[in-house]
Symmetry: C2
Subunit: 576 residues, 2 copies
């Protein structure tokens, strides 16, 4: 089910017959021995009825098509270059691409065809007249994919995907499609190396080192000193922070296990991200030893509650080891008061981690960075450029104030992986700091964007997103049919609200009203996805029934898109 | 230091003046307020002397260049399309790209320019007359990058990188550059979504589900039943296996921590990958509770040693919980005898994990899959398509025989992340199975390659690599100046050998000889990297001094490249 991957969206006229119901041979439909010159490993992009063709015909058909359609000089600058409705690779064999002898021509042509499809997709992504998604239920999509069969009907990976860069996609904390970042990702995948050693990734390893230093400077650690690493996402970054804290206070746990430590307890807000809880479970603390802190009406930790619970834990004989302060909670976008929390951590000698996965980006804004005041007092910070800063997924950093802990915590000094007798300075081999072995290159796209936009470019983007959320907040706070989940201007771009359909507006504040309201957001969201016009998330939180959580990190979004969203909610929800 | 990213390799004529020594303003050289229409966030690709230019001139210069150079129809098929030596984006501003108004033209052109550079790189990667790398020491590269300064001198990310797809790159377990996989990765990054929920990645979520099932079928689990997930690498996959095993036997650890379990011990071979040790440390077992198993001369676990150590642990009151059997060790390429190990695991009720990160690919080969006989008896299997199967990094799967454990172990049921009241079947939302929250899309490139090559295509690739390693083994096993680290034909593509320079050949088997031999491989490797002609790894192992470990997973490699490697080792090592 992937042939339409390489067809233009919407083209479904060449459906193949339904998949056979007989079980698949493990080697596909082909039973020839591997060395036979059969056609079984034909590139499956388009399974048409073509039989085996001569090599020369393939090349000439490519040339012909290229001359007619692809990137034709006459058409550059006009829409003509998007006119082609179908890309036919039926005569192309995977084995004809490089490293095949004389495979260069076909390889380049193949990649250019792919790029044409991708640029077409990008063009549509930013076009407000296209849908955000073309929703199908799992069973509907599976019909075309089940069986993993080369003869399968067409599907279009891009067509049935979600345009996360669409100006009206507001569903996740990571939205938007940054073109410079995308170029960086294409280059990264072409380089196809990993961050294991300087030997195999010299430039990327240095870029990571310099970028982490820059991030530490922005946090406010003197001279950008400290340590850090890019990890496969904020959850893993947060997991690192707990591991490093444990190593700092109880290094013997590394060799002897949790039995070597007293009963350790961790603290985080009831509004914090579930990755802290996942880390508690995975690392052997147990989720019951993660103590949830009360928050104020805006979702911010109440420092007095932290101190009370620290004292209570100590009285029970437990050892308070780790506090997570969230800078930008997932739902409310709340910033915990870091300075007051830091005071308590210093008083009781507890590791302070700041989870700035979502809110860390605000450090780039002179206008908004005060919301993270005190972050320089943290022992570690999670900061995901792939969220508020629009870097393509995945790009998350864990930053550590004290140098050496990451290495001490994770290194196993495997001589067969890290040879000390290399000709270069092996302190640049960062692999042993990680819990991973091979590690994806997440740095280049970020580096490239930073170079292209400058810090000021990130600042402008962040300020604009926060302006847009203030616009939304001011628009709906007193508007009929809307109710805010909490009062006051949002700290981050999260705007949390209920839409109250006319049928519910007269109801008294009763359980029945809340029960009915609980069902409104899911219904609107379902209709929204069916119509594919926009996407925004909803969820319950604590004792609050389902509400919409609008977040804005998409650089393509404008006030008109915000207006569109509220109109769409009102249109879909009016008769509920 | 990245302007040359977008210049052809080797072009270094436009060096900028040395970086200023004054400290950088956090916002770069620009002190304008964010809303000023200054030129500070000019795309930094090439920092020339051009001042601000009109939009129209930019477009026309693009068109002009395109007509002259880029993908020109007249030149398609000839080398002329690579003649251009420099790509000048000095007039391009990041803010002029989409979502900028009328940014479409410039966006498409920009991406096409990037692709031209990438295709040029790809062409050179497969060209044996180019170097594998152009080595520079960290301090040399840093000279151009330090300070993170927009005014910096040119560097070329691709130029100073390592061509991991070069036919003579043998340094890692992951080598080669698969064109279809690359296209898949470009598409993945353009789609820029994550595997969190069906809602935002419908097609990729289903592809993952179908592919995991197919892999479980190949392992031999009835009807491909079971569970699994793609993770950011083999180390994380192995970590999952330990977590799941613990959850199976001691589910209360999730809530109560390791204190709720007796002293648990894990077993793995002294030749196994260090990720098992990393997992022991991270998850709170402690590395001392990971018991290393003795191996035979070929690096395979001795089952009797496992049983003896299990009994010993039980006698001490410890609980043997987890055994890792490696299918394809990192250095020797050894396959532990899974069936005999499985017998012991069944007898003592221990979780059996098979780490097939490196050797799992052999399951695709009818000729070689017998080396993993018994794998269907494992409780969990790690299998990295990004290693032996040539899928671009990262692509690693953890497969679990019993359904439900992954979910039970990791789920936190956060209602604000996973809404149960969606309109589709939310069992497709796999996010809560993972220790991650957002998760990179690693499936599409693999899916596309499988479709394009078929199982038979992977089989041919694997058989060819093993044939090549047999060729190398047979060539050097009795050749003067070579000594094998262990006897007999390698089980995987790992060929481990010492090169003995003429000056050492007469020496008796003494400590002095081994000490001198220990220094030979590092010296040859250093010279090899300086000359950039080929790359192969070396390391010590146990009491064996530094030796070369040749591995072949590169689809571009041929017998002539193997011959080249031995000639190069002899050329560089002859006078040591």
């Amino acid at each position: 089910g992937w042939s339409l991957v390489l067809m233009s969206p919407g083209t479904t006229s060449h459906r193949d017959p339904p998949p056979p119901t007989t079980p698949l041979n493990m080697y596909g439909k082909c039973n020839h021995p591997p060395d036979s010159s059969s056609s079984c490993n034909r590139l499956g992009f388009l399974q048409k009825n073509n039989s085996l063709e001569e090599r020369s015909r393939i090349v000439s058909s490519f040339k012909e098509r290229a001359a007619k359609n692809l990137l034709s000089c006459d058409n550059i600058g006009g829409d003509a270059r998007f006119r082609r409705t179908e890309t036919d690779f039926s005569n192309l064999f995977a084995r004809d691409l490089l490293p095949a002898k004389n495979g260069e021509e076909q390889t380049i042509q193949f990649l250019l065809e792919v790029v044409e499809i991708l640029t077409n997709y990008i063009r549509k992504t930013f076009d407000r007249s296209t849908k955000v998604l073309d929703f199908h239920h799992p069973h509907q999509l599976l019909e075309g994919m089940e069986g993993f069969n080369l003869e399968l009907s067409d599907q279009d990976t891009l067509k049935y995907g979600v345009r996360t860069g669409h100006p009206r996609f507001f569903n996740q904390l990571s939205t938007g499609l940054d073109i410079v970042g995308l170029a960086g990702e294409w280059l990264t995948s072409t380089a196809n190396t990993n961050m294991f050693t300087y030997e195999i990734a010299p430039v990327f390893v240095l870029m990571e080192q310099l970028t982490l230093k820059k991030m530490r400077e922005i946090i406010g650690w003197p001279d950008g000193e400290g340590d850090g690493i890019f990890s496969p996402g904020g959850a893993i970054s947060n997991m690192y922070s707990v591991m490093i804290a444990r190593y700092k206070f109880f290094p013997e746990v590394k060799t002897k296990g949790m039995a070597a430590a007293p009963r350790l307890v961790l603290f985080t807000s009831e509004h914090s991200h579930y990755s802290i809880k996942k880390a508690s479970a995975a690392l052997g603390f147990g989720t019951e030893n993660l103590i949830l802190l009360n928050t104020d009406e805006r979702g911010r930790v109440i420092p007095a509650d932290l101190e009370a619970k620290v004292i209570e834990a100590k009285q029970k004989g437990y050892v308070p080891m780790f506090v997570n302060a969230t800078a930008g909670t997932t739902v409310y976008g709340a910033f915990d008061p870091i300075n007051e929390i830091a005071d308590i951590c210093e008083k009781y000698n507890i590791w302070l981690h700041v989870d700035g996965a979502w809110g860390g980006g605000l450090l780039m804004s002179r206008k908004h960075r005060h919301k993270l005041n005190g972050v320089e007092r943290a022992n570690s910070v999670t900061w995901n450029p792939h969220k508020m800063m629009g870097v393509p997924l995945q790009c998350s950093a864990i930053l550590v104030r004290e140098r050496g802990l990451l290495q001490g915590c994770n290194s196993m000094c495997a001589g067969y992986l890290f040879q000390p007798d290399k000709q270069y300075d092996v302190t640049y081999d960062t692999g042993d700091k990680a819990i991973q072995c091979g590690r994806h290159v997440d740095i280049f796209k970020f580096w490239l964007m930073w170079k292209a936009k400058g810090t000021i470019g990130f600042e402008q983007h962040i300020d604009k997103c926060l302006d847009l959320s203030a616009y939304l907040y001011n628009k709906i706070k007193n508007r009929e049919g809307y109710e805010m989940v909490f009062n006051g201007e949002p700290q981050h771009t999260n705007v949390c609200f209920w839409y109250i359909p006319p049928s519910l507006r007269g109801l008294p504040d009763s359980e029945e009203r809340w029960e009915r309201l609980h069902k409104v957001a899911p219904k609107i969201k379902a209709m929204m996805m069916e119509s594919g016009t926009t996407m925004v998330g909803y969820q319950p939180q604590g004792d609050k029934v389902n509400f919409f959580r609008m977040v804005i990190s998409n650089p393509a979004a404008t006030r008109s898109d915000i207006d569109f969203l509220t109109e769409e909610i009102e249109r879909l929800g009016h008769d509920l």
